[in-house]
C-alpha cells in the first residue's frame, strides 16, 4: 500500500518538475523517447507532459507488444484457428488486433474459430493436457519480459511428452528495435531514452551500453511509476546538458547490470535468433526476434503446420509506422478518433492501453481542442 502512494506523491512530482524546469536550457530542445508502452501509459494517465517545460518533448516508442505485431503474424494465428481447427490461445490484448480481410482473432471466434484468452502460457499448456485429441497453439508475443514464461511452457511440454501443444513465437528484442530507430531518422530526432523497466529486470542494463557509446544517446532505465519517469527525465536532462551519454539506472530497486541470469539461460536454451523479423512500423529488422531451436522443433507451430510468412501492408490511412518510429504523433493520423477509436481500432496502436494512439485517445485528446478550457491545479 504505502509502496504505491509513495511513488505517486504529488508534492514530490511538483518538486521534480521544478528541478527539471530549473535545469533545462531554454534554447535547447529535448526530445526523449520512452521506449515502453508501460511508460506511455503512466505518462498519459498522470498527465506528466503537463509538468514539463514546452521544450521537453516525450516521444512514444515501439515498446508495446501488440503494436509492433505485423498483420502477417496475426493472419497466421487466424488461419490456424479457422482452417486447421486448432484451439488458439493468446493474451487478451491480441484478440482485437486488426488483421487481413477485416478480421481479428475476436472476429474469427465469432465465425466459429476456437480462440481462447489466457492469462499465462501455462493455462494454454493445461488446456493441451486436458484435451489430448485437440491441437492447442499458443500465440506468444512480447519483449524479453514474456519470453521466459514461454520457454518454461515449452520445456514442460517436452518433459510431459505432449504431442498436441505448439507455439507461434513472436518474441522480439528491445535492443534490436532501439538500433533500428537510431539507425533511421531517430538518430537525428532523439536526444535520449527513458529505458524499459520490466525488460531491464531480465536483460539488465548492460545491453544499452552501445546506444550511449556508439550513438551518443543517454539512456536512463526507469520504473513504471510516475515519479520514476519524472526522475529519469531529470537525469536525462542533466546528462544532455553536461554533454554526457551514459547508461544510468533510476530503477535500482529492481534492475542490475547483468539482469536475471537464470531467465537468460532458460531463454537461450529454448530459443535462438531469427535472421530477420518484420515489425509493424519498423519494417524488417535483422536479428530482432527469436524462434525455437532445432531441439524443440516439434513445438514450433510454424514448422508443425507449415506456415509461410506473407507480409501484408497496413491500412493505407494508418500512421502507426511513423508513430512507432517517433516521427509522428497520434493526432497527426487523419483517421484518429474518427474511423479509428479504441472501440473500433483500425491500427494496432489503438488496441492496447499501452499503444500511443489508445493512450492519447483515452487520456489526452482534449488537448487538440484548443477551445476546450484548460483547468488549473486546485
Amino acid at each position: 500500500m504505502k509502496y504505491i502512494t509513495e511513488f505517486r506523491d504529488g508534492e514530490l512530482a511538483r518538486s521534480l518538475a521544478a528541478a527539471i524546469a530549473r535545469e533545462v536550457e531554454p534554447t535547447h530542445e529535448y526530445r526523449l523517447m520512452e521506449f515502453c508502452g508501460g511508460h506511455t501509459h503512466a505518462i498519459s494517465r498522470y498527465g506528466l507532459s503537463d509538468l514539463l517545460p514546452a521544450n521537453v518533448r516525450l516521444i512514444h516508442g515501439p515498446g508495446c507488444p501488440v503494436c509492433v505485431l505485423p498483420i502477417g503474424r496475426v493472419d497466421h494465428a487466424i488461419k490456424l484457428a479457422l482452417q486447421h481447427e486448432v484451439t488458439l490461445c493468446t493474451y487478451g490484448d491480441c484478440l482485437r488486433v486488426p488483421a487481413s480481410e477485416g478480421l481479428s482473432l475476436l472476429k474469427a471466434r465469432a465465425r466459429g474459430a476456437d480462440v481462447r484468452m489466457v492469462y499465462s502460457t501455462l493455462d494454454a499448456l493445461k488446456l493441451a493436457q486436458a484435451n489430448p485429441n485437440q491441437q492447442v497453439v499458443f500465440f506468444a508475443i512480447g519483449f524479453e519480459t514474456t519470453t521466459p514464461p514461454s520457454a518454461v511452457a515449452i520445456k514442460q511440454a517436452q518433459a510431459l511428452g505432449l504431442k498436441n501443444f505448439s507455439v507461434i513465437c513472436n518474441h522480439v528484442l528491445t535492443p534490436a528495435a532501439m538500433h533500428a530507430i537510431l539507425a533511421g531518422d531517430g538518430g537525428k530526432l532523439l536526444h535520449g531514452f527513458v529505458g524499459p523497466a520490466h525488460v531491464s529486470t531480465v536483460i539488465g542494463s548492460a545491453p544499452y551500453e552501445p546506444f550511449a557509446r556508439d550513438y551518443g544517446k543517454p539512456v536512463v532505465i526507469a520504473g513504471f511509476e510516475p515519479l520514476d519517469v519524472m526522475q529519469a527525465i531529470l537525469m536525462l536532462i542533466r546528462q544532455i546538458n553536461a554533454g554526457r551519454a551514459e547508461v544510468e539506472n533510476e530503477f535500482t530497486r529492481a534492475v542490475t547490470a547483468e539482469g536475471n541470469r537464470k531467465a537468460q539461460a532458460l531463454v537461450a536454451d529454448v530459443f535462438e535468433l531469427r535472421d530477420a523479423f518484420e515489425w509493424r512500423g519498423l519494417g524488417v529488422i535483422p536479428h530482432s526476434a527469436l524462434k525455437l531451436r532445432e531441439a524443440y522443433a516439434e513445438f514450433d507451430a510454424e514448422r508443425r503446420f507449415g506456415l509461410e510468412y506473407r507480409s501484408v501492408p497496413d491500412h493505407q490511412a494508418c500512421e502507426c509506422g511513423a508513430i512507432l518510429r517517433g516521427e509522428k504523433r497520434p493526432q497527426q493520423c487523419r483517421i484518429f478518433g474518427t474511423a479509428c477509436t479504441p472501440d473500433n481500432p483500425v491500427g494496432a496502436c489503438m488496441v492496447s492501453s499501452e499503444g500511443a494512439c489508445a493512450a492519447h485517445y483515452t487520456y489526452g485528446r482534449f488537448r487538440e481542442h484548443s477551445d476546450s478550457p484548460l483547468p488549473q491545479a486546485g
Partner: protein, 349 residues
C-alpha cells in the same frame, strides 16, 4: 403472490430442501413456498391482501417509478448479498429523482436446484433491508427455470416514490460553474465483489457499501439550496456517471484527483487487478451537482449524515462543447476521464 393456501401436510424443508420446477408452476408447491418463505419473511398488510397486485392509498404528489434487475455473482459478498442489494438499488434510483421511496415490488427468477436455505437467507436479508429503509415490498412474483438456465437467483425490483413539491432534479440540469459533490469513498462495492471472486486477501478486507441513500438525499433536499442533479455512480463507476451527466447537460467537467476519496485497500486491489477505481461500481454513494453558492452548505449536510461523513467537493462543471470530463491528476498533470471502453466487469450488481 397469493397467500391463502393453509394446511400443508408437511412444512417446507428449509434446511436441506431445494427449489424444483413445481415451485414455479402455480400449484400448491408454489403457494407453500410463498406462504412459508416469502410471506413469512416479508409479511406486511399489503402482501397479506393476497391478491395479484397491491391496492395502495393515493400518494399525493408526483410519482417516480424505477426498476432494476440484479444478477450479481457471487450472491453473498462482504457487506451484503443480492437480496439487500435489490432493495437498495431500486430505493436509490427512486431517491436520486428527489423522491421519497414508498413501495417496492420484487420479481424472482429461481434456478431449479437452488438451496431453499440460501433463498431464505436472501429473502430474510431483503426483508431486513426493507424494514431498515421503511419501504415495504408490497407485491411480487416467482418463476423457476431449469437447471443450467439461470444462476441461482436473479431479482428484479421496481419502486415507486413521491417527489416533494418544488423539487426537480435531472441529469440535464448541470450548468457551468456548478460544483460536483461526492458522498464518500469510491470503488468499495465493485472491489468487494471482485476480491471475493478472485479469491484475493488484502490486509484490510474490502466491504461493499451497499445501502439505501434516501435519508441522505432527504437531508440534502431539507437544505433548500439549488440542487440540480443527483445520481448514484453504480455500474461503470464515477467516471461513467459523470460522463453521462456531462453529455446530457452539454457541459464539461474538471475533477481534482486528490479530492476524490479512495480507500487504500481499494486502491491496492485495483492496482493488483489493473483497474482504475474511477470505473469501479458503488452501491451506496451519490453525486450531487449544485449551484456554487450552495455547495458549502450541501457539503456540510452530507458530512453531518452518517452515510456522508467522507463527502468531498471533487470538482466543477465547465462550459465545453466537446463534453470532456477532465481531471487534474495527483501529479498535477491533466487527463481525460473517458467513457469506459473495452470489457466492462460483468455481473457486478
Amino acid at each position: 403472490m397469493s397467500l391463502k393456501k393453509p394446511n400443508y401436510i408437511r412444512p417446507l424443508d428449509l434446511k436441506n430442501g431445494r427449489v424444483d420446477m413445481s415451485h414455479g408452476s402455480g400449484g400448491r408447491a408454489m403457494a407453500q413456498l410463498i406462504a412459508e418463505l416469502f410471506a413469512a419473511e416479508l409479511g406486511n398488510p399489503y402482501l397479506a391482501q393476497g391478491n395479484d397486485g397491491a391496492l395502495l392509498p393515493p400518494p399525493g404528489g408526483r410519482l417516480v417509478m424505477a426498476t432494476d434487475s440484479h444478477v450479481v455473482s457471487p450472491l453473498f459478498f462482504p457487506g451484503g448479498d443480492i437480496g439487500a442489494l435489490a432493495v437498495h438499488g431500486t430505493i436509490n434510483d427512486v431517491a436520486m429523482m428527489g423522491a421519497t421511496p414508498l413501495y417496492l415490488a420484487a420479481g424472482f427468477i429461481l434456478e431449479e436446484g437452488f438451496p431453499l436455505a440460501d433463498l431464505q437467507r436472501i429473502v430474510r436479508s431483503m426483508a431486513q433491508a426493507s424494514r431498515d429503509a421503511g419501504v415495504l415490498v408490497v407485491t411480487g412474483d416467482t418463476k423457476v427455470v431449469e437447471q443450467g438456465k439461470g444462476d441461482g437467483v436473479f431479482i428484479t425490483t421496481t419502486g415507486v416514490g413521491v417527489v416533494r413539491d418544488g423539487v426537480t432534479l435531472s441529469g440535464d440540469l448541470a450548468r457551468p460553474g456548478d460544483r460536483i459533490l461526492l458522498s464518500g469513498h469510491i470503488g468499495d462495492h465493485g472491489m468487494a465483489i471482485l476480491s471475493q471472486r478472485e479469491g484475493l486477501q488484502f490486509d484490510a478486507s474490502i466491504v461493499s457499501d451497499s445501502t439505501a441513500l434516501h435519508t441522505l438525499t432527504a437531508a440534502l433536499l431539507d437544505c433548500g439550496g439549488q440542487l440540480r442533479v443527483l445520481r448514484d455512480p453504480t455500474r461503470g463507476g464515477l467516471a461513467t456517471t459523470l460522463n453521462e451527466i456531462a453529455s446530457q447537460s452539454g457541459v464539461g467537467m474538471v475533477l481534482q484527483e486528490s479530492a476524490i476519496p479512495v480507500r487504500p485497500a481499494v486502491d491496492a486491489a485495483c492496482e493488483l487487478l489493473g483497474l482504475d477505481p474511477l470505473y469501479v461500481a458503488n452501491e451506496g454513494k451519490l453525486i450531487a451537482i449544485c449551484a456554487p453558492a450552495d455547495a458549502p452548505r450541501l457539503l456540510a449536510a452530507l458530512r453531518a449524515h452518517p452515510l456522508g461523513t467522507d463527502a468531498a467537493d471533487i470538482g466543477e462543471v465547465i462550459a465545453d462543447a466537446h463534453g470532456f470530463v477532465q481531471m487534474v491528476t495527483r501529479m498535477g498533470g491533466r487527463r481525460v476521464v473517458d467513457w469506459l471502453t473495452g470489457e466492462q466487469l460483468p455481473r457486478i450488481c
